[in-house]
C-alpha cells in the first residue's frame, strides 16, 4: 500500500472521531427530555406488543446490573452510552464507505461524505432526541448498511430488519426502503439474483411482524397509567413531567395511529426548511432529472426512478405523525446513503451526473464549499420541531 494511501486511510477515521466527538461535546450540557421515556414503557411481560423491544432490553439490563435503572441518572447514562454506540457505528459505516470508494472517485464523493458526517453527527446528541425509537432504529440500520456496503453476511440484514420493526413498526417506512432499494439495484442493475431472495424474505417477514405489531396495539388499554408511573420515576423534573407524553405512548408505539391533531408547527416548520434548504433541493432535482432523462429508454429506468423517489415511502409518516425532525433526518440520510452506495457500486451514470453537478455548481455558485458549511449551522435536528433554530421562525408566524 502506498504511503499516501495508508495515511489517507488513517486520516479519515481520525476526522470522523474528532468531529463526532466535538458535535457530541458541544451539546452535552443537557438533561434527557421526557418525550422519549415512552420508548421503554412497553415490554413483552404480558405477551407480544409493538415497540416493546427496547423496553424489554432496558429491563434486562436492569435485571443484570446491580443498580436500580428505574430512576433518572441510570436512564440518562443508558441513553448516553447508546448514543455513543450510534456515533461509533455511524463512524464505522462512513469509514467503510470511504475505504470502499475508488481513489479516482473520492473527489466526487468527498462532498457527500462531509454532508453525511454533519447529518449523522447532528442527530440524537441532544436531550430531546437521545433515547428515541429512531435512535435505536438507526443503530440497526447502520449495522445493516455496513453489511450491505461490505457485501458480507447480508442474510443477517433480513434478521436485522425484523429487529428494526420490533423496535418500532415505522421502521418499514423509514429505513427499510433504503435497504430494499440497495438490494433491488444489485439484483436488477448488477444482475445478482441472490438479492431476490433477501428482498422477498425481508419483505414477507417484516410485513408479518409489522401486522402483528399493529394488531397488538388494538388490545392495549392500561398503557397510560404505566407510562405515567414510569415518567415520574425517570424524568429529570418529575414534578414538571408533562402527562401529554404519557398520553402519546400508544400512538408513538404505532406507525399508523395518527397524531395529526398535534401537527401545529409541523407544516410551517417544513415550509421554512424547504426555503432554507432550497439550494440543495434545486441541485438534487436537476441532477436526478438529468439522470432519469439519461436512462429513460433503458432497461433499468424503473430502478433509477425508484432510487429517485425512494424517500416517498416515508410519506405516510409525514401525514400521520408529528416528529418531523426525525422524518427529515431520515429523508436526508436516505439520499446521502443511496448516493454513496451508488458511488461505491461504481455506477457510471450516477458518477457522471455527480461530476456534472460539481462542475455546474462550481460554475454558478462562488466559493461553493460554503454549501458544505451551511448545514452545520442548521443542525442538530430536533424531534417535533425539525431543527430548534428554525422553530423560532415558525413560532414567529404564530404557529
Amino acid at each position: 500500500m502506498e504511503k499516501s494511501s495508508r495515511k489517507d486511510k488513517l486520516t479519515f477515521p481520525f476526522i470522523l472521531l474528532v468531529t463526532f466527538f466535538c458535535m457530541y461535546a458541544k451539546r452535552s450540557w443537557f438533561k434527557i427530555g421526557d418525550g422519549n421515556i415512552s420508548t421503554i414503557v412497553l415490554t413483552y411481560k404480558d405477551g407480544f406488543k409493538a415497540s416493546a423491544l427496547i423496553g424489554a432490553f432496558y429491563r434486562l439490563v436492569n435485571h443484570i446490573l446491580p443498580i436500580d435503572m428505574m430512576s433518572y441518572e441510570p436512564y440518562y447514562f443508558f441513553n448516553k452510552y447508546m448514543c455513543f454506540v450510534y456515533l461509533i457505528l455511524a463512524g464505522l459505516l462512513l469509514a467503510l464507505i470511504y475505504k470502499r470508494i475508488d481513489e479516482t472517485n473520492r473527489g466526487v464523493a468527498i462532498d457527500y461524505m462531509i454532508l453525511a458526517i454533519i447529518v449523522f453527527g447532528g442527530m440524537f446528541v441532544t436531550g430531546d432526541t437521545m433515547g428515541s425509537y429512531d435512535m435505536y432504529m438507526m443503530i440497526v440500520a447502520l449495522i445493516s448498511m455496513m453489511l450491505i456496503f461490505s457485501g458480507k453476511l447480508e442474510w443477517l440484514v433480513c434478521i436485522l430488519n425484523i429487529i428494526g420493526v420490533l423496535i418500532n413498526p415505522s421502521y418499514v417506512f423509514k429505513i427499510m426502503p433504503l435497504i430494499l432499494i440497495c438490494w433491488i439495484y444489485r439484483w436488477r442493475v448488477k444482475g445478482q439474483d441472490v438479492y431476490k431472495k433477501y428482498i422477498f424474505v425481508s419483505m414477507v417477514l417484516s410485513a408479518l411482524v409489522w401486522l402483528a405489531s399493529e394488531a397488538s396495539l388494538l388490545r392495549l388499554s392500561q398503557v397510560y397509567d404505566h407510562a405515567l408511573e414510569l415518567g415520574y420515576k425517570l424524568s429529570a423534573n418529575p414534578e414538571n413531567y408533562d402527562v401529554v407524553f404519557a398520553a402519546r405512548t400508544l400512538r408513538e408505539a404505532s406507525s399508523i395511529l395518527p397524531e395529526w391533531s398535534f401537527h401545529g408547527n409541523n407544516y410551517i416548520d417544513l415550509l421554512v426548511l424547504l426555503l432554507v434548504a432550497s439550494p440543495y433541493l434545486l441541485i438534487g432535482r436537476h441532477a436526478f432529472t438529468d439522470l432519469i432523462n439519461c436512462v429513460r429508454n433503458q432497461e433499468n429506468y424503473k430502478v433509477y426512478r425508484l432510487i429517485q423517489l425512494g424517500a416517498v415511502f416515508i410519506l405516510p409518516e409525514f401525514i400521520l405523525k408529528i416528529k418531523y425532525g426525525y422524518l427529515v433526518y431520515e429523508v436526508v440520510i436516505y439520499y446521502l446513503l443511496i448516493l454513496l452506495f451508488l458511488i461505491v457500486e461504481r455506477d457510471e451514470l450516477v458518477l457522471g451526473q455527480m461530476r456534472d453537478v460539481r462542475t455546474r455548481v462550481r460554475g454558478k455558485v462562488p466559493a461553493s464549499a460554503l454549501l458544505l458549511v451551511y448545514p452545520l449551522l442548521l443542525v442538530p435536528f430536533s424531534d417535533v420541531a425539525i431543527m430548534n433554530g428554525l422553530d423560532v421562525i415558525a413560532r414567529f408566524f404564530g404557529a
Partner: protein, 411 residues
C-alpha cells in the same frame, strides 16, 4: 434561484454571506441578555468620566431624546438589537469592500475568510453570553478604521475613532487596536511617497498617544470618586434593565468602587489554562498552516529591512493580547480577538500585497492537492463557535469540566 444566477458574482457572494449570517443569528439568538451586558448600560458619564461609560452614555442620551423612557428591559433589548444590526451592517460594508477589490484568482479564498468572520461574529454576538457585549462596538471601530486605511481617505479619523474605542472599553487598546496599528505600520513601510509616510507616521503616533493616555487614565484613575454614594443608584438602574432584576455585582464594584478583581478571578485561571490547551490541540492543523504561511511569507517577501519589520509586526501583532491572556480570564473574548486580528490582517494583505497574495494562493493550492480530505478544513472550525466569555466555547468548556471532575480537581 434564477434571480440568484443572474446576480453579479460579487453580489452573489454578499447574498450568500447575508443568508449565512441570518441563519447563524436565528439559530443562536434567544432574546436574552446576560446581566453583565445590561449592567454596562447603567455606567455613563453623568457620574464623571468613568471607564466603559461611553455606550451607557449613548443609551442615556437616547433615553433623553425619545418621548418615552428606554431605561428598562424593553429599552435595553431594543438598543442591543439595533446595535447588533448596525454592527452587522458594518461587517457587510467591510465584506463588500473586500469582495469588490478582490481579483478572480483570490475571490474564493477571500470569500471563505469573510465567511469565517461572518459566522464567528454572527454566532458569538447573537448568543446569550455575548448579545450586546461591548466587544462588538470595538470590532466595529477597528473595521471602520481598516476600511479607511484601505480606501486611503479620511484616515485622520482613525485618531478620534481610536479614542472612542478606548472610551468604549480600555481593553480596545490590547484587543482590536492592534489591527489598526499593524496596518498603519505596514503602510508606513510600504508607501514610497514621503508625504504619505509622514501621514501614516503622524496618525500612528497620535493614535497610540491618545489611546495610551486614555487607557492609563481609565484603567487607573477613572473610578468614581463618590463611588460609595452613587453605587446603590447605579445598581438600581442596572437591576431595572435586566429581565430578572439582577445586576452584575463584580462589574459595578470594580467600575464604581475600584475593587480589585484579581482574587475573585483567580480560580478561573486554571479553567482558562486547560481550555486553551484543549483548543490549541483541536485547532492544531490551522496553527500549523498559519506557521507555514508565515515562514513562506518571511522567506519570499521579507527582502529588505523595511519588509522584515512590517511582516514581523504582522506576525507578532496579536502579542498585544498577552497581558489579557496572562492577567484576565475572559478567554472566549481573547480568542475571538486573536482570530479576528489574523483574519482581518490576512484579508487586507491578500488584497494589497502581491507577494503575500502569491504565497497564500500557492499554499492553498498545495493543501488542496495534498489530500481530498482537506476540504473538511473549511467546515471543521464552525464546530467551535459561538465563542463565550470565561469559557472559550461549549466544546472546550465541556472537556475542561470533565477533565477537572475526573482528573484535575483544580476548580
Amino acid at each position: 434561484m434564477i434571480i440568484f444566477e443572474k446576480l453579479k458574482k460579487e453580489n452573489k457572494i454578499l447574498f450568500m454571506l447575508v443568508v449565512i449570517s441570518l441563519i447563524c443569528i436565528i439559530t443562536n439568538y434567544n432574546g436574552k441578555i446576560d446581566n453583565y451586558n445590561t449592567t454596562i448600560l447603567a455606567l455613563n458619564y453623568s457620574y464623571g468620566f468613568t471607564s466603559r461609560g461611553f455606550i451607557g452614555s449613548i443609551f442615556l442620551f437616547l433615553d433623553k431624546l425619545t418621548p418615552f423612557s428606554i431605561m428598562n428591559t424593553w429599552g435595553a433589548l431594543r438598543f442591543y438589537q439595533l446595535s447588533t444590526f448596525v454592527f452587522l451592517v458594518i461587517i457587510f460594508i467591510f465584506a463588500r469592500m473586500i469582495i469588490k477589490r478582490a481579483q478572480d484568482t483570490e475571490l474564493n479564498l477571500v470569500t471563505y475568510i469573510l465567511a469565517a468572520i461572518v459566522i464567528m461574529m454572527s454566532t458569538t454576538f447573537a448568543g446569550e453570553y455575548n448579545f450586546g457585549r461591548i466587544d462588538m462596538y470595538m470590532i466595529a471601530i477597528a473595521l471602520i478604521c481598516t476600511e479607511l486605511i484601505m480606501v486611503e481617505r479620511f484616515e485622520w479619523l482613525i485618531i478620534p475613532l481610536s479614542a472612542i474605542g478606548v472610551m468604549i472599553h480600555q481593553g480596545y487598546a490590547m484587543m482590536y487596536f492592534n489591527i489598526v496599528l499593524v496596518l498603519l505600520f505596514y503602510k508606513f513601510f510600504t508607501v514610497a511617497d514621503r508625504k504619505a509616510k509622514l501621514k501614516y507616521a503622524v496618525i500612528f503616533i497620535l493614535s497610540i498617544l491618545i489611546a495610551g493616555i486614555l487607557f492609563l487614565y481609565l484603567e487607573l484613575f477613572s473610578h468614581a470618586s463618590n463611588g460609595k454614594e452613587i453605587f446603590d443608584d447605579v445598581a438600581a438602574i442596572a437591576a431595572g434593565l435586566a429581565v430578572d432584576g439582577t445586576y452584575h455585582k463584580t462589574l459595578l464594584q470594580h467600575e464604581i468602587l475600584g475593587v480589585d478583581l484579581s482574587e475573585v478571578e483567580h480560580g478561573f485561571h486554571m479553567k482558562n489554562l486547560v481550555e486553551i490547551i484543549v483548543l490549541i490541540l483541536f485547532l492544531l492543523p490551522y496553527i500549523v498552516i498559519a506557521i507555514k504561511l508565515f515562514i513562506n511569507i518571511w522567506k519570499t517577501a521579507a527582502v529588505t529591512i523595511c519588509d522584515k519589520l512590517k511582516y514581523l509586526a504582522v506576525f507578532l501583532g496579536s502579542l498585544t493580547m498577552a497581558p489579557d491572556y496572562l492577567i484576565k480570564v475572559d478567554y472566549g473574548r481573547w480568542v475571538t480577538s486573536t482570530l479576528m486580528y489574523y483574519l482581518v490582517v490576512l484579508l487586507v494583505l491578500i488584497l494589497i500585497d502581491d507577494k503575500v497574495r502569491e504565497v497564500v494562493i500557492k499554499l492553498v493550492s498545495q493543501i488542496k492537492q495534498a489530500n481530498v480530505l482537506c476540504k473538511f478544513l473549511l467546515v471543521y472550525p464552525v464546530l467551535f463557535v459561538p465563542f463565550l466569555d470565561v469559557n472559550i466555547d461549549q466544546i472546550t468548556a465541556m472537556i475542561g469540566h470533565v477533565l477537572n471532575r475526573e482528573l484535575l480537581g483544580w476548580w
